[in-house]
């Protein structure tokens, strides 16, 4: 085992792919000479050269589309977006091309491509740079969406995402790049579509992904001090989503709190809540609980931003109201 950061885990996975498959290349804005807005590809240009580490003009629609075409022609592009908010500029390419092209060609055209993008609020970047559009992309059949919360999953998921023959959105919680954690030195992958039970417990199921997971770890600690045993699940993959693991857990515990760090309305937990209600409604000992960020454009001011975000106190309060725990 080695202790590395999420950033180092992503770097490791990318370098492995570049080393082992000549068809893998990376493109995006300022990923080469600059080294990447979040320094993920720092030093890559020197090591792999400009053919494989391609700096692009600031033209998201053009280079996302070019990534899709190159994937359809047999390459393995990893496209970096500086922020998942910038996906909006290339949304037509992601949805109408990457996701739809296989279906509308009757299965003739595949798009083995990864789009990496930082996501999430908490760094005072204001309304345009703090959004979490992995939630929107989960609605689109043809795409897969993953969102690691720790170095081990970050490495396992970047490996499986690059290997996957479909377009995969790899959403990186921008606040977690520096998070350290243990990573197995032996090669492994994390299966896309498989949630991870981080803590086994009996009294309540807590579910989130990405930067919701550090919050749930704290919530679980606090509940433990109150004598409440919680089962903590990291979805890891938002599309496809592992409904089975969550439902089995809820059927065991009879209680659940689902945490979105994105805005509450239309978040992935709304979808998961519907599934839990349908499949495990009879097992619930009280209301199915959901916490998400406020339905506001993200404010710049730190106090306002923190107030808008999901938080440990908000989660605990919901659990107290819902289950008197």
């Amino acid at each position: 085992m080695s202790e590395i950061t999420v950033r180092q885990a992503i770097q490791k996975g990318l370098m492995e792919a570049l080393d082992s498959d000549p068809n893998v290349f990376i493109m995006g804005e300022d990923i080469g000479a600059y080294g990447g807005a979040y320094a993920i590809t720092s030093g890559f240009l020197e090591k792999y050269g400009p053919e494989r580490i391609k700096d692009t003009p600031i033209s998201e629609a053009a280079f996302i589309g070019a990534g899709i075409g190159s994937a359809a022609a047999g390459l393995k592009p990893v496209v970096e977006l500086m922020s998942i908010s910038f996906s909006l500029v290339g949304f037509d390419q992601i949805v109408n091309m990457a996701a739809n092209i296989r279906y509308m060609s009757g299965g003739q055209v595949n798009v083995p491509m990864v789009i990496r993008a930082p996501t999430g609020a908490g760094m005072q970047l204001g309304a345009t740079h703090s959004q979490s559009f992995e939630t929107w992309l989960c609605e689109v059949p043809g795409l897969k969406v993953v969102a690691p919360s720790n170095p081990s999953d970050a490495l396992g998921l970047i490996r499986s995402s690059i290997k996957d023959p479909n377009p995969v959105i790899y959403a990186e919680s921008a606040g977690l790049y520096g998070l350290k954690g243990e990573v197995n030195d032996k090669y492994y992958e994390v299966e896309i579509g498989k949630a991870d039970i981080k803590i086994v417990g009996e009294d309540i199921t807590l579910v989130s992904y990405g930067h919701g997971m550090p919050m749930l770890a704290k919530v679980s600690e606090e509940l433990k001090s109150r004598g409440v045993s919680s089962e903590v699940i990291d979805l890891r993959s938002l599309s496809p989503m592992d409904y089975k693991t969550v439902n089995e857990s809820v059927q065991k515990t009879g209680r659940a709190l689902l945490l979105d760090t994105a805005r509450k309305t239309g978040g992935v937990m709304a979808e998961l809540a519907a599934s839990v209600q349908e499949s495990s409604g009879d097992y619930l000992d009280g209301p199915l609980l959901r916490v998400g960020s406020e339905d506001v454009p993200w404010p710049y001011n730190r106090k306002l931003e923190q107030h808008a975000m999901s938080s440990v106190p908000k989660i605990l309060k919901q659990i107290e109201i819902g289950y008197s725990l």
Binding site: F25, A61, A62, F63, G65, G69, S70
Partner: protein, 318 residues
């Protein structure tokens, strides 16, 4: 050029014309639904520009795509079956008129968001360049697409990266019902847009199949040599409305009359006879063989099964 090659050009153009007429008939009968955009009047462009391509070159086009598909050699039976929504269609009945594909022939669609196919096409060109292959990509789009950001972004990207791509503008002077004059304030030619990105441009009479073929051959040579992209504007006119739903009331009857004098099929027919390249009997033979082929195509489409209902979940993920 041999006589056979001339006749081949003529046959492809005639096949497209008759295919489109047949589509119109079958749309009226209710066998074809959805949006149907006919290529009648524009046949010389697809035939003149696709004929000189190699098998390993890529073609990416827009939603008025039947002509390009036929020029590329996609069979009319599976094409008609696609329009009929049948399982045997080129896209398994899941694409429809606007989304024709044949990956085996590097015919990479039929795309129905205006201008969206242009970045995609750059990706095929990028793959050729990355793999050191000398295949090229041709991307077709209309005058309406020239005001999309994707058009400008991709021309810049292709120019900076010297991608082996041929930008092919089919200027039929109307983006749906909006005339070119109303969306451009500096005349009718678009070549300067390409020149702004240091891409060499040519303008050609899109009603003249031989002229289209000649300029395309020159551009293909240039692009294949690795010098970067090229741009061709072919002027043309669609003889029908934008789609079957469009009676084209925004165009003056006289304008259509003038363009019909330049009918690419009739004029090429006359040219072949006048130059002594072909005799009436050659033309008649082609007419007969095309009519027979289309009869077969419609029969194939009619008799083919619809997709199975459980096909609905297939082809989403690889």
């Amino acid at each position: 050029m041999e006589k056979k090659e001339y006749l081949d050009l003529y046959r492809k153009m005639y096949l497209i014309r008759r295919f489109e007429e047949s589509c119109g008939e079958n749309y009226s009968k209710g066998f074809i639904r959805g949006f149907l955009h006919l290529y009648i009047g524009e046949e010389a462009i697809a035939v003149g520009s696709i004929t000189p391509l190699r098998e390993d070159d890529f073609i990416v086009t827009h939603y008025r795509d039947h002509g390009h598909a036929i020029a590329r050699g996609l069979e009319t039976g599976p094409l008609m079956a696609e329009l009929f929504g049948k399982k045997t269609g080129v896209s398994g009945g899941k694409g429809g008129s606007m989304h024709l594909f044949d990956a085996g022939k590097n015919f990479m669609g039929g795309h129905a968001i205006v201008g969206a196919q242009i970045p995609l096409a750059a990706g095929f060109a990028l793959a050729s360049q990355y793999q050191n292959k000398d295949s090229i990509t041709v991307v077709y789009f209309g005058d309406g697409a020239t005001n999309q950001g994707t058009f400008h972004e991709t021309m810049n990207l292709a120019s900076v990266w010297k991608l082996p791509i041929l930008f092919f503008l089919e200027n039929n002077f109307y983006g749906m019902g909006t005339s070119v004059e109303r969306i451009r304030n500096n005349g009718k030619s678009f070549g300067n847009l390409a020149e702004n990105y240091s891409i060499p441009s040519t303008i050609v009479d899109g009603m003249d199949v031989l002229a289209v073929k000649e300029v395309t051959e020159e551009s293909i040579k240039k692009v294949r040599s690795g010098s970067g992209p090229a741009f061709i504007e072919a002027t043309t006119f669609r003889f029908q409305g934008h789609s079957m739903a469009d009676p084209a009331k925004y165009r003056a009857e006289k304008e259509l009359e003038e363009w019909k004098k330049k009918d690419p099929l009739i004029n090429f027919n006359n040219y072949l006879i006048k130059e002594g390249i072909a005799a009436d009997i050659d033309i008649e033979k082609i007419s007969k063989s095309v009519d027979d082929e289309l009869e077969e195509a419609v029969k194939f489409a009619t008799e083919s099964p619809e997709p199975d209902l459980n096909d609905i979940n297939n082809d989403i993920y690889a």
